[in-house]
């Protein structure tokens, strides 16, 4: 017997008997008549818009013939359709320029997910137990309409609440118009890693209530305060491409990069120098640098203008932020402060970036304003190699609608209503939910689920049964992003205004409906119709894009944008969002306040840092198995949760790699496996957010632990944003490694080699 036959025999023996009965399943399938003519085997590429984060990257989608499981007229079967098969970055898109991150690559799994909700569902069991029965679209919409008519008859329109994720988009404008015309408060917006503090700081310092676009490509020196701009923050694809140019794209020139943070992020791992500062004191370091720059007369104090004038003691040269004083507060050596300051002032153009953990403290606004002042001092605002603000189209104005005052700060997320017209969810009679999942991403101690339990009627537009959708009384599943008109209005990532848009790439697989179209239909069917001027969402988009100037001489803006997947160009007069907000009223200047932490330092000796995971961001992507399978760039962990702890601290507590730890705050405790890493301060433990879903499809349910559950209800006072890095915890070892930590290829080679 030769080797080949042997392998064949061993492969077959033992299993063939069990398999013989499987049969040919094709014969049992119902096949539907295909909806369209396609040339088998020939791929076409169509534009798309990535739905997974607010960056709004453009896609190019490969579409080919395929047999797909679909639902038609209530029957499941197989049909040969033109199916989306692969996503890539759109080469000409002004934000991502052909790039696409790993998360975007995995977005294709949203459409074909086996646990996708395929039709309207009505709750059949207790709230939260996940038992649903089928309902027709007609009955489902009639149900919603009768509830809303009920509110209207009772004159209680304010009891309609809408919960969504933030970000500017035409979809958000439609939601705002729907609510305003019905008489309900504006939508409540909840985003765990929402950057409200940075937006508010930019409004205060520069009059721009938005995230910055960093011109990394032209910078010579980048000083980042906690911003994970290569991994999870803002527009990572645009930033990573520009970062590549800064480091390697200019012959003979390599830009310098220093990262200040107390837990090494994916971005920090790329830096020339990693500077750990005590949590919540990063702003002091920024002002320390500004002090040195002004004291050495490298730049005059007046160069910082309004951004500097906001800071207490700026005009006197920040005398209370001497390098020695800064060392005492931040733990960064005085000599290092002086050296960094000289580098920052002399390696021009230089730029400072701040985001993430430094702003997730009770003094986050101070930190952001301090870094803004440092940027202004060296003249890096709206200059090559500095900070830009992407011009924004006022979407409501383009549709000739009245919207929220342009550039006005978004109201904070609140469970209970304060002012009569404040957004809320807790006092609602009817709650509509689009995308947000605060049950998972808000601290348990806020009591989101208790507040939702009091809402009599919850409607979810979700495609998956997550912790929020499972509380819904009615689920009206949205199309996947490849099956419907999609759009996004990127807040940053380009120096010109951008609006991404794409027509449906493929026909819907199931009996789902596009949520904007559902809202428009509900608006028409109400007893007192809302008179929204569009029949369908694409009509609304056509109207909005018609107001923009065309980027091509051959086609109008709408046709051109559909073909390319994006519109970009100068904002026509009258359609721009306010270029500059007025300076805030002369309040007292902003000064350093000690960050406040929840938990006594004696009882809870560690700072606790939950951070957005590279794979799942805030956990909304944990249902995609490709992302579960993706090794974390720093620890190589996958399919699991882990706690990062400094080896010195671990030794003191007798903790080894993979040991099961209990992390307890005053508000809750979680268990996860230990990962020993030198890239974290000895008085800190960090944990990625994203796992620990109670229910979120077969891939994420019951896997790992959710660090947000243990967070304290600390907030940044000016914005009301959750200060998610302001909780202290104690750490205890509860057991040896038990297999819950899965590392790629069995472990970190460096670690094994070092400790041999």
């Amino acid at each position: 017997m030769d080797r080949r036959s042997f392998i064949k025999l061993t492969a077959v023996t033992g299993t063939s008997a069990a398999l013989a009965s499987c049969g040919v399943p094709e014969n049992q399938l119902i096949r539907f008549v295909p909806d369209e003519d396609i040339v088998p085997g020939v791929a076409v590429w169509k534009p798309g818009v990535c739905p997974l984060c607010a960056a709004g990257c453009g896609l190019t989608v490969r579409v080919m013939d395929a047999d797909a499981d679909v639902a038609r007229n209530g029957q499941l079967g197989v049909v040969r359709i033109a199916a989306a098969k692969k996503l890539e970055g759109a080469p000409n898109h002004p934000v991502n320029r052909g790039g696409l991150c790993a998360r975007g690559q995995a977005a294709i799994q949203v459409t074909y997910h086996p646990d996708r909700i395929t039709q309207p569902l009505k709750r059949a069991g207790e709230r939260g137990d996940g038992r649903y029965e089928a309902i027709s679209w007609d009955d489902a919409l009639a149900d919603v309409v009768s509830r809303l008519d009920g509110l209207e008859e009772a004159g209680n329109q304010r009891a309609l609440a809408f919960l969504s994720r933030g970000g500017a988009s035409h979809r958000a404008v439609l939601i705002e118009q729907f609510l305003a015309r019905f008489g309900a408060p504006p939508p409540a917006v909840y985003e765990l890693f929402g950057d409200e503090v940075l937006r508010r700081a930019n409004a205060t310092s520069f009059g721009r209530e938005q995230l910055p676009t960093i011109d990394l490509a032209n910078a010579m020196f980048v000083l980042s305060f906690g911003a994970d701009f290569l991994g999870t923050w803002n527009s990572p694809v645009a930033q990573a491409a520009a970062y590549g140019v800064m480091r390697q794209g200019r012959p003979g020139i390599r830009g310098g990069f220093v990262q200040v943070e107390s837990r090494m992020s994916q971005t920090g791992a790329s830096a020339d120098e990693w500077v750990p500062a005590r949590p919540g004191t990063e702003g002091v370091l920024a002002l320390g640098l500004a002090h040195v720059i002004m004291a050495a007369a490298l730049r005059p104090a007046s160069a910082a203008g309004r951004a500097g004038a906001l800071v207490d003691g700026w005009s006197d040269g920040l005398r209370s932020y001497t390098p020695e004083q800064v060392e005492k507060i931040t733990g960064v050596a005085a000599a290092r402060v002086v050296r960094l300051a000289r580098q920052f002032a002399e390696m021009r153009p230089s730029v400072a970036v701040v985001a993430g953990p430094p702003l997730a403290h009770t003094n986050g606004l101070f930190t952001a304003v301090a870094v803004n002042a440092l940027n202004a001092l060296v003249g890096s605002i709206e200059q090559p190699g500095g900070v830009f603000f992407t011009p924004q189209v006022d979407l409501a104005a383009a549709l000739k609608m009245s919207g929220r005052a342009a550039g006005a700060p978004a109201p904070p997320f609140r469970l209970q209503r304060e002012g009569a017209d404040d957004p809320h969810i807790g006092d609602a009679q009817v709650l509509l939910v689009d995308g947000a999942n605060p049950v998972f991403t808000a601290p348990r101690v806020w009591g989101v689920d208790q507040a939702l339990a009091k809402v009599p009627y919850i409607v979810s537009f979700g495609s998956f049964l997550d912790e929020m959708a499972v509380l819904a009384d009615l689920i009206l599943p949205d199309h996947s992003f490849l099956e419907a008109w999609r759009e996004a209005v990127p807040e940053s990532g380009a120096t010109v205004a951008v609006a991404s848009v794409a027509p449906p790439v493929m026909r819907p697989l199931y009996q789902t409906r596009s949520t904007p179209d559902v809202l428009l239909e509900v608006g028409r069917r109400l007893r007192r119709p809302l008179n929204l001027p569009w029949q369908t969402f694409d009509q609304m988009l056509a109207a909005a894009f018609a107001a923009l100037p065309s980027a091509s001489p051959d086609a109008d803006a709408w046709t051109d944008a559909q073909a390319k997947g994006a519109w970009s160009g100068p904002v026509p007069p009258g359609l721009g969002r306010a270029a500059s907000l007025p300076a805030p009223p002369a309040a007292r200047p902003i000064a350093f306040e000690e960050p406040r932490f929840d938990g006594d330092a004696g009882q809870f000796p560690f700072h606790f840092l939950p951070y957005p995971s590279s794979a799942f961001l805030d956990g909304s992507l944990a249902h995609l198995p490709w992302l579960q399978e993706m090794p974390d760039p720093l620890t190589s962990a996958m399919w699991s949760s882990w706690v990062e702890i400094n080896p010195a601290a671990a030794e003191r507590l007798g903790i080894g790699q993979g040991d099961v730890l209990e992390i307890a705050s005053a508000h809750g405790s979680i268990r996860a496996a230990a990962v020993l890493t030198p890239g974290i301060a000895p008085d800190m433990v960090a944990m990625p957010v994203g796992q620990g879903h109670r229910t979120f499809t077969r891939y994420a349910s019951g896997r790992g632990a959710n660090p947000v559950e243990a967070l304290a209800p600390m907030t940044e006072p000016a914005t009301g944003a959750l200060a998610w890095a302001a909780t202290r915890v104690r750490v205890s070892r509860v057991g040896p490694p038990d297999g819950r930590l899965v590392l790629f290829a069995g472990g970190m080679r460096e670690h094994v080699e070092e400790h041999r």
Binding site: K8, A11, V12, T15, S16, A18, L19, A20, C22, G23, V24, P25, E26, N27, L29, R31, F32, V33, P34, V39, P40, G41, V42, D69, A71, L76, V78, R80, Q109, P114, D115, R116, I117, T118, Q119, G125, G128, D129, G130, R131, A134, L465, Y510, Q511, P625, Q628, E629, W639, R671, G692, R694, T695, R698, Y699, S701, G702, R703, G704, G739, V742
Partner: protein, 196 residues
């Protein structure tokens, strides 16, 4: 364990480690209207995979006994039904809609035609099975269109279908078969012409 799962008719999960947390149980009941299953594997069943591994193609069983001889005899061109043949890699199998282009009016009294008309009226299609073709694992790709452009007769590779009712696999598509013809016609025989 997997063999048991297959025998029980359940899908096998090969890669994911078991859920790690003990305290939280996933919410269980299936939702109405979900097709279920896992992400598509290369083979519908392990049995099909074994057959494939042993190079043991199953005899195609067509949903209706389609008479190629009658259609070719009436001078219906091959590409009328296999319309992708001069456009791309796959010739394609016609949907019932293609049949109805003619049979809306022609031979409507025959039982087989009434059968497919009824299918069409229900919105259903014919589940044709492939007779020829390569699998991904064969690491070879074939593109019909350039062969049509080079005026290779359909019969060269598919036999004389004018003499067949239901299409039979009358020519074995081995590598030698391809290379011989390429040599005769001085078509390229570099590996990457087909293996890419």
């Amino acid at each position: 364990m997997c063999a048991a799962a297959v025998a029980a008719g359940a899908a096998c999960s090969w890669y994911e480690p078991a859920a790690s947390s003990t305290s939280i149980a996933p919410v269980g009941p299936a939702l109405p209207g979900q097709p279920g299953g896992v992400f598509t594997t290369a083979r519908p069943t392990v049995g099909a995979a074994v057959d494939d591994f042993l190079n043991r193609p199953s005899e195609p069983r067509q949903p209706i006994e389609f008479p190629h001889d009658v259609h070719v005899g009436k001078n219906v061109a091959c590409e009328f039904c296999h319309e992708g043949v001069d456009k791309g890699p796959a010739a394609g199998l016609p949907s019932v809609r293609t049949c109805m282009i003619c049979h809306e009016a022609i031979a409507t009294d025959r039982p087989r035609i009434q059968q497919i008309t009824a299918l069409r009226d229900k919105g259903l299609d014919l589940a044709w099975q492939r007779v020829y073709g390569f699998d991904n694992e064969d690491s070879v790709r074939f593109n019909h269109a350039p062969h049509i452009r080079a005026k290779v007769e359909c019969a060269t590779c598919h036999g004389n279908v004018a003499e067949q009712t239901v299409a039979q696999r009358s020519v074995e598509h081995t590598m030698g078969f391809c290379v011989n013809c390429h040599n005769e016609r001085q078509a390229p025989v570099e590996c990457v012409i087909c293996h890419y």
